[in-house]
């Protein structure tokens, strides 16, 4: 198989499979009444999955490395942003605090 064909096959197969993953459950959960236990459990998905994206992204110092030390500037900026998010509940304030403190810390150290 030429690499040209190989690449197209991979794109089309991943694309079709991904669409099915996205569509099937959206369709099913819209058409049938989900069991009560599932609805109740799904209430926790946003908090669980978003913090699972947030935490590694804040601790990440480079490709494939997480770092917990207090000299991780992203960790400090992230903590400041979390505090601001908690007290103000404002997206803009959170972004300004987080990006502002990260850029300031990077300029200082």
């Amino acid at each position: 198989m030429s690499s040209y064909t190989f690449i197209w096959l991979s794109i089309l197969a991943i694309g079709a499979g991904t669409f099915l993953l996205r569509f099937t459950f959206l369709q099913l959960a819209g058409r049938i009444a989900l069991p009560h236990a599932i609805t109740r459990a799904l209430r926790f998905l946003p908090a669980a999955v978003l913090s699972a994206i947030i935490l590694p992204a804040i601790l990440r110092t480079g490709p494939g490395t997480l770092y917990f030390g207090l000299d991780n500037l992203r960790l400090i900026a992230g903590a400041i942003a979390a505090l601001v998010a908690w007290t103000t509940r404002s997206v803009i304030a959170t972004l300004v605090a987080g990006m502002g403190s990260l850029w300031a810390l990077q300029a200082m150290f």
């Binding site: 991943i14 569509f23 459950f25 959960a29 209430r43 669980a48 978003l50 979390a82 509940r89 972004l95």
Partner: protein
Amino acid sequence: MSEVNAGKWRDWIAGMRVMLPLLPGAIPFGMITGAVTADAQFTALQGIGQSIVVFAGAAQLASTQLIADAAPLAVVILTGLVINLRFAMYGTSLGPHFGSLSTGKRALIAYLMTDQAYALSITRYMSDAEMTPMAKFRYYMGGAAAMWVVWMSATAAGYFLGNKVPASWSLDFFVPLSFLALIVPNIRDRATAIAALAGGGTAVAAWSLPFNIGLFAAALCGIAAGYAVEVAAGRGATRSEGER
């Protein structure tokens, strides 16, 4: 413009506005994804075609790297799909909100599904019980369409120019910050807070696992922990269920 039409556009624009801070993070990521396809000998049509057909950054990046490493086709495809397993959960979570919409509209929602579109819609839907399915659709589409345009532009630019965004700008930091701003106001009770802690903790612990499995495992652990706390809380939880 009639008042009804103005209302329609308000939902689109509202979704777009909430997506705005999530867009800068997609730019360096998209440019890297595009640049890697050029390195892996994709034609321009294949590089852009990958973004149009797959439209899922982590899966695109990982499968391209495997192609560059001459991995077997089945491994390339399976890797891409395993990374995207989380979309099945997002679909289950969003599905009930779009119950009465046509299959065509739901196909569109499915095609445009991303972490970002899921995050901004579900957090809004959970805090606004008054929204109609159509308003929810328009809100989702406003944000999701903006992400589509940025992703296509960033990956195409990356294909032709390489990644031109200096790492020192830390644009990727917009991603955790925006998600933080979306989720914090939605942590209203102890069970949700525990779900967030368990999800974040698992993601960090499982960080080194391949194929984004850590994210999937973290979602399941977070859900299980939140559910367990709610069940243990007993009557209080039952009462709040009844209110909704």
